[in-house]
Point group: C2
DNA sequence: ACAAAAGCTGACTAATTGGTCAAGTTATTT
DNA sequence: AAATAACTTGACCAATTAGTCAGCTTTTGT
């Protein structure tokens, strides 16, 4: 718990292949190797935490997932919870920026379309991140209280003002902006979080990009029409 | 693991108050007490599993939550996983019936309205059940594979036919019925699963019935309009 | 070139946890 | 009123797990 050292890495090539690379010296500048290793640990941990949750994931699993000895993870992060918190933090920074499309100058239609598209892209490309986040909120968000109540709330408040501006300017129908966000998050993230259910219902081994396309089109349709922006909807996006 | 006994219970009154009721004899027919106890364990377990997940919940927690000694739970359910599976099963039976509102004779508008309302009622009254289910699917649905791939899939296929019938009869716009279900589940269950996030964003200690009402109205609006059923929407349901 | 700092790791440990069991109590059967 | 079956429980155990540490190697500073 008294960790305040620098960092180190293991070149992706050296590592991934042989797990027991026996003390192979690898000439590389320190900081580079360090940041690489840390990134590698975080990436592996994201997947493990997504699949098993904080309590379900063991340090042994986490170590195996990135091909490093257990003690190494403790060297960099101290405790399992600290590593988890770090993973969570990485996700949050990735998260908050998605709403940038929603700003006063944009048209509601373009802004919502861009936002939905961005969120769906996240679900497709970073499903583990979404699952870790979902798992955390599901279990009471004890490691996220401050983020949710401060940063996220601020961001949502800010975007709610933008949407309310559009409404008063008559650019879209009146809807509760905050609940609109809740539903947007739910609809887009469900394609990452509940993929197992969808795949089972659709009788496919896993979701493909076609499934994401159909989902995105339907979300877009519900949201745009729901906000009174659906006039020129072209054809059936079935 | 070789459990094939009968069952027993502890009267709710006796129990809840004193945790250490010391060997108080309670005259009651056996089966009654048994089924009561089992129900009590399942109810408590639902909450504990919702809050901690399968891996995170300990037998000690589960025992404390229903005020019974640990060995007692093992007597009735054998293993933690068996108890978990039982909890899951209880939820599923509760789950499948909600879609009954969707049948060929009904109007799309009435059917979808009833379905959304029923699902929102579930989220309000049985949030723990929803969370246990969400947690399970999130972690790959290993304990639900057969349910998802057989019972649920059958049910969805069946309802998809109904919806496609409505579409070909021109009663509603063409949408992919399965993805419509995915979004309906996502939107309604998010009010149970992600309540912590919502409460934080709304700056309230917990969601109230007003929040559920706003959410339900918005879901209804998006879905009905999205399906081309929103013509006579009365006023702003903001 | 050498000392100090940083990084790495196998082996160990204390604590927790799921599960067992034998000895008891209560209810049912005959 | 036994005898048996069903239920209850504290005490116990083997296995797992997060975290530690001493000693090693590699890099960096001078």
């Amino acid at each position: 718990m008294k960790n305040s050292q620098k960092k180190q890495n293991v070149s992706g090539a050296d590592l991934g292949v042989l797990l027991n690379t026996p003390a192979v010296p690898m000439r590389q500048p320190r900081t580079t190797r360090t940041t690489q290793t840390i990134g590698q640990i975080l990436a592996a941990a994201e997947r493990v935490f997504a699949e098993a949750g904080l309590a379900g994931a063991t340090m042994a699993q986490l170590a195996a997932a990135c091909g490093l000895p257990k003690a190494n993870l403790h060297y960099y992060f101290g405790t399992k919870e600290a590593l988890y918190t770090e993973v969570l933090q990485t996700i949050l920074t990735l998260w908050l920026d998605a709403a940038d499309a929603i700003h006063p100058a944009a048209s509601p239609r373009a802004a919502l379309t861009a936002y939905i598209s961005a969120k769906m892209a996240h679900s497709r490309t970073r499903p583990y991140a979404s699952k870790v986040f979902a798992n955390e909120v599901l279990h009471g968000a004890v490691h996220l209280r401050s983020y949710l109540g401060l940063e996220l709330r601020r961001k949502v408040d800010e975007k709610a003002v933008v949407i309310e501006g559009w409404i008063t300017r008559g650019l879209m129908d009146p809807v509760d902006p905050r609940h609109l966000f809740f539903l947007l998050w739910a609809m887009t993230q469900t394609y990452a979080d509940f993929d197992a259910q969808m795949a089972a219902v659709l009788a496919v081994p896993s979701l493909g990009s076609a499934d994401f396309a159909v989902g995105e089109a339907l979300i877009l349709r519900l949201v745009l029409r729901g906000c009174g922006l659906g006039h020129d909807l072209k054809g059936t996006d079935r």
